[in-house]
């Protein structure tokens, strides 16, 4: 018999005091599309679920000296935001491909990142958008770059008493083009075999900055730093992008494994091909704006 208590605080202060009271016996729940499935599948429940849905002011997408996205913003809100679609395209690509409309209506971006699945569809986009994760605890806030947020499969730097409250994306990312490809067998309702996100900054045809984020390619979402370094200062040509794809697919950048969804060799081939394709898409977005 699954048994747990459910608390629905209305302020962060209340959340912190509940987290202090229950310690590791508590689990935070936002949209619940991961937590409820976990409880059902494992037949294991925490002593208490602390719902964050009462924190209504953590749902927002704002732009002022950079972009601010509240942790409880749903994937559906991201999908329907013109700002996200035009200026943070990779995030649109990721958010609009998660689950179904029913799931996107409740599942939150904060939940997607805190769950820390290697396949999280918003992780690759947030990596190439250079997002900062804002964690708040009873003693105040701290910022963690998303590239340092994941410490292992389903593990993050978030401490037990902390709540992820916001994502911050630097304003200059608006001058970048970005794109994300969810490689999967169907168009909806599945997990990616692989996720590839790329962002670029161009000065005419010269790549002045580049970021590559890979998911399901390692125990955590990862940046392909070596491939990014290779791209900087190069001309945007097919051969250059192809070489960047090769580097991104190499053991220097990722460590995909064989799993039920795909084998490691296949994942490496897809990384090689799609890093180049996503870079082309990112470049097109810059030119079209």
């Amino acid at each position: 018999m699954i048994d747990y208590d459910y608390k629905k605080p209305e302020s962060l202060e209340e959340v912190f005091s509940l987290l202090k009271e229950y310690g590791p016996k508590a689990t935070l729940i936002a949209g619940g599309t991961d937590v409820m499935v976990n409880i059902r599948n494992t037949k294991k429940a925490p002593e208490v679920l602390i719902s964050l849905r009462g924190l209504k002011d953590l749902r927002y997408i704002k732009k002022n000296k950079g972009y601010h996205i509240g942790a409880l913003t749903t994937h559906r809100m991201l999908e329907l935001s013109e700002l996200v679609k035009t200026e943070l395209s990779a995030l649109y690509d990721g958010a609009s491909r998660i689950g179904s409309v029913q799931v996107r209506n409740v599942a939150t971006i904060g939940g997607n990142i805190c769950n820390a699945a290697p396949s999280a569809d918003t992780a690759g986009p947030l990596l190439v958008l250079d997002a900062q994760v804002v964690l708040e605890g009873p003693k105040g806030r701290r910022n963690v770059p998303i590239a340092e947020f994941f410490t292992g499969t389903y593990k993050t730097v978030r401490k037990q008493g902390e709540v992820l409250v916001e994502f911050q994306i630097p304003a200059e990312m608006g001058h970048f083009g970005s794109a994300y490809w969810k490689h999967s067998r169907r168009k909806a309702m599945n997990l990616p075999i692989l996720g590839i996100a790329v962002s670029l900054k161009l000065d005419d045809e010269t790549i002045t900055d580049a970021r590559i984020g890979l998911t399901v390619a390692a125990p955590t979402p990862v940046r392909a730093y070596k491939a990014e370094e290779f791209l900087k200062g190069k001309q945007l040509t097919g051969d250059v992008l192809k070489e960047a794809g090769k580097i991104a697919a190499s053991p220097e950048c990722c460590s995909p494994r064989d799993s039920i969804r795909g084998e490691a060799w296949y994942r490496r081939e897809i990384i090689e091909v799609y890093v180049a394709r996503m870079a082309m898409l990112a470049a097109e977005k810059i030119k079209n704006r």
């Binding site: 018999m1 208590d5 619940g32 849905r53 409309v101 029913q102 309702m189």
Partner: protein
């Protein structure tokens, strides 16, 4: 097991449920209110047979803790026909286009379609397909279902 009292609007009427705190909205609808139109297929948000509309948005009732329904407006398949029993245009369109075979997915399909058509009066085919991408039909394929929703959209304009 601890019980909770949850008050919300169900198909237009104010209701209160006294149910175990661990119950989902789906279990509450089916076992407390005896509204069995919403089905449990997978129970983990994959199949959409439990789709209901909460505050205008389609959601999987199986993943929706009943606790979260407090103060919300919940609509189920039982609430969309007229009071005199006149079918909703989407229901009529499903009948006329053979959008139903075994029927298990139908109430979820119709609720997803209703959430779409309430928000978007002239949907494109790909918008219709996206709106029901989380509703699995294992009998008919989706062609008649999409045609039914297209017809309903024209009727409702």
């Amino acid at each position: 097991m601890k019980k909770v009292s949850v008050s919300f609007t169900l198909n237009g009427d104010p209701v209160t449920a006294e149910v175990p705190v661990t119950w989902s909205l789906l279990k509450t609808l089916r076992e407390y209110f005896e509204l069995t139109g919403a089905k449990e297929g997978c129970g983990v948000g994959e199949c959409g047979a439990c789709t209901v509309i909460v505050d205008g948005d389609a959601v999987n009732a199986c993943l929706y803790p009943v606790f979260e329904a407090e103060g919300k407006s919940v609509m189920t398949i039982e609430g969309i026909a007229g009071e005199d029993g006149t079918l909703h245009p989407i229901q009529t369109a499903f009948l006329e286009n053979n959008g139903v075979q075994c029927g298990y997915c139908t109430s979820g399909m119709i609720m997803s379609a209703k959430a779409l058509l309430d928000q978007n009066q002239g949907p494109m085919e790909d918008e219709i397909r996206t709106s029901i991408a989380g509703n699995f039909c294992r009998c008919t394929g989706y062609v008649q279902i999409v045609e039914a929703i297209e017809m309903a959209a024209r009727e409702m304009e």
